[in-house]
Amino acid sequence: MRRTIAAVFASALFALGGLAHADTTLLNVSYDPTRELYREFNAAFAAEWKQQSGEDLKINQSHGGSGKQSRSVIDGLEADVVTLALAYDIDALHEHGDLVPADWQKRLPDNSAPYTSTVVFLVRKGNPKGIKDWDDLVKPDVGVITPNPKTSGGARWNYLAAWGYAKKKYGGDAAAQEFVGKLLKNVPVLDTGARGATTTFVERGQGDVLLAWENEALLALAEGGGKGQFEIVVPSISILAEPPVTVVDKVVDKRGTRKVAEAYLKYLYSPQGQEIAAKNHYRPRDAAVAAKYASTFPKVPLFTIDEVFGGWQNAQKTHFADGGTFDKIYVPGAK
């Protein structure tokens, strides 16, 4: 018995040793739908970095709902870079624990968002409920799938896109609140992350329409359960989603990885990085790459969060903070 216990501990220690890594590592803490994007991008950048510096680089990935991931970094998950769904979740890194400076978003071009996306609808083949635009989502017999805006960045974009549409069309925030409230009544379940919502719609067959990142919808078309079972519907107007990226200063300074972390993010803006983003269904910033992929990304009028909501800080406070509009209009299980 004693010998057995000793053997167990010895093998445990051995296994612990096996977990240690020798070469440089980066941890990219990202949101849900970027899994495929960063798998491809990380491989490309590791090769590039090897050529530039001769160093072997291992990039580790963590994915989850954007708000949840931000929370984890605040609680001590040592991310060298974060690539999250919206600026507010990175602002939170400044507010709690001062992990990044207040002006982090000005450090890289285009509001630190190397790629953009928007919110579109994914419907079942043949569009049986005839969903064409935002107004069709509040009809009584339509099941809408969207994740929880408290934890998911994508869900916040979805919510604000619907709000912005109603505000423009029906004039004013009161009408918009009524519209979004009606829409939320059609949501049978709120998943914590965008990917969870997609699987609910695609693999488990729940709901008639999925409110999704355009990149997520395109991916579901390409890879989801059965190909050719879904169609994308582009609404008359939507929101310009800018998922931002930044180096986490406190972590890279502690770990001595600032140089490689900054090079990693810059590479996202390079033609190679932009090409990988476009291939993975994100709208590239680079004009040449955008022209090449023009057929993938339909032209649609997009409003920005600054125009309609006065920036993320305001939007967050009004809509998603505790006691905000979302808490007022969302009643779980109400139908």
């Binding site: 018995m1 216990i5 167990v8 501990f9 093998s11 445990a12 296994a15 612990l16 096996g18 977990l19 941890l27 849900d32 899994r35 495929e36 580790n60 990935q61 963590s62 994915h63 989850g64 984890s72 605040i74 609680d75 001590g76 998950l77 040592e78 709690h96 624990g97 990917r195 969870g196 699987t199 693999e203 890879e223 989801g224 359960g225």
Partner: protein
């Protein structure tokens, strides 16, 4: 104990035949629907694209890291809980002291608390914003979002299994043999190894097996403290979720089939141990 009931007067055996058969049919249908069918589905999906795809999913670098981590966590959490379980059961059954009832209830706490809460407790304690967080960060000790946090959360969740198994057993056995050993001059340590351990051996093994099964399969608590870094802090259950969410259904179920195999193995071991325990109980004269 049911073994002591006089068998012939058992009411169940006097029920009409139709009732017995329909109860049996309901039970079997229930088992088939809720246990056998999902298990078959796991293996069905795992092998739907053939053995090579299954093997590729299991030997994938991230999958291997997840398997290693899961085994490592179990290798630490299970011995810890075994030592604790024996100590606690000893304390509870051999001594009487104020607050014993409270201690017994506290041992059961992890059964009552949702695993998510269990994970959050550790984040609040050891996270950067938590009570001990700043001190840990200054001393460069990583607990949350690293292997120690996963071990802690798993240990918490699997805490009661061994103690729960031993307490009734040791209560039933009483302490006469130990007292005899001490009277005859045995040291406390040799009494434990030569008298107590052989007596409780099979019960202990039973508890350890259950503890291990839960340690390997734990999802909720581990999910909260893991940080989900693939290849580093994803255990097998977390890795399965990742794969499933990446539209790699076959790979997800391939790894799931490994977990199911562990579970089946556990079941077989549990049966063998339970059978041995009953046999020992039957051959021993009642105290």
């Amino acid at each position: 104990m049911s073994a002591h009931l006089p068998r012939k007067s058992s009411v169940a055996l006097r029920d009409p035949r139709w009732l017995r058969w329909s109860l049996l049919a309901i039970a079997l249908a229930f088992v088939a629907l809720f246990l056998v069918l999902p298990l078959l589905a796991v293996f069905g999906y795992a092998f739907e694209k053939g053995l090579d795809v299954w093997r590729a999913a299991v030997v994938d670098e991230e999958a291997r890291a997840a398997i290693r981590l899961t085994l490592l966590v179990a290798a630490i959490a299970v011995p810890l809980n075994t030592v604790f379980g024996v100590a606690a059961a000893w304390l509870v059954t051999r001594y009487s002291f104020r607050g014993k009832g409270l201690l017994v209830s506290l041992i059961d706490l992890p059964f009552a608390v949702s695993p998510v809460i269990a994970g959050l407790i550790y984040v609040l304690l050891f996270g950067k914003q938590g009570w001990l967080g700043p001190w840990l960060a200054d001393h460069d000790v990583k607990i949350i979002f690293a292997v120690p946090g996963i071990v802690l959360a798993t240990t918490f969740v699997t805490f009661p299994f061994v103690a729960r198994e031993l307490i009734p057993l040791m209560q039933a056995q009483g302490g006469d043999e130990e007292r005899a050993a001490i009277t005859l001059g045995a040291s406390g340590w040799s009494m434990f190894w030569r008298v107590t351990l052989p007596k409780i051996g099979w019960g202990l093994l039973y508890g350890v097996i259950l503890c291990n099964a839960r340690a390997i399969g734990e999802f909720g608590a581990v999910s909260v403290v893991s940080g989900h870094i693939r290849g580093l802090t994803n255990t097998m259950p977390l890795h399965i979720e990742v794969l499933y969410n990446e539209y790699q259904r076959t790979a997800a179920f391939a790894v799931a089939s490994l977990l199911a195999l562990f579970a089946l193995l556990t079941l077989v071991l549990k049966q063998i141990v339970g059978w041995r325990m009953r046999r020992i109980a039957a051959t021993e004269p009642d105290a």
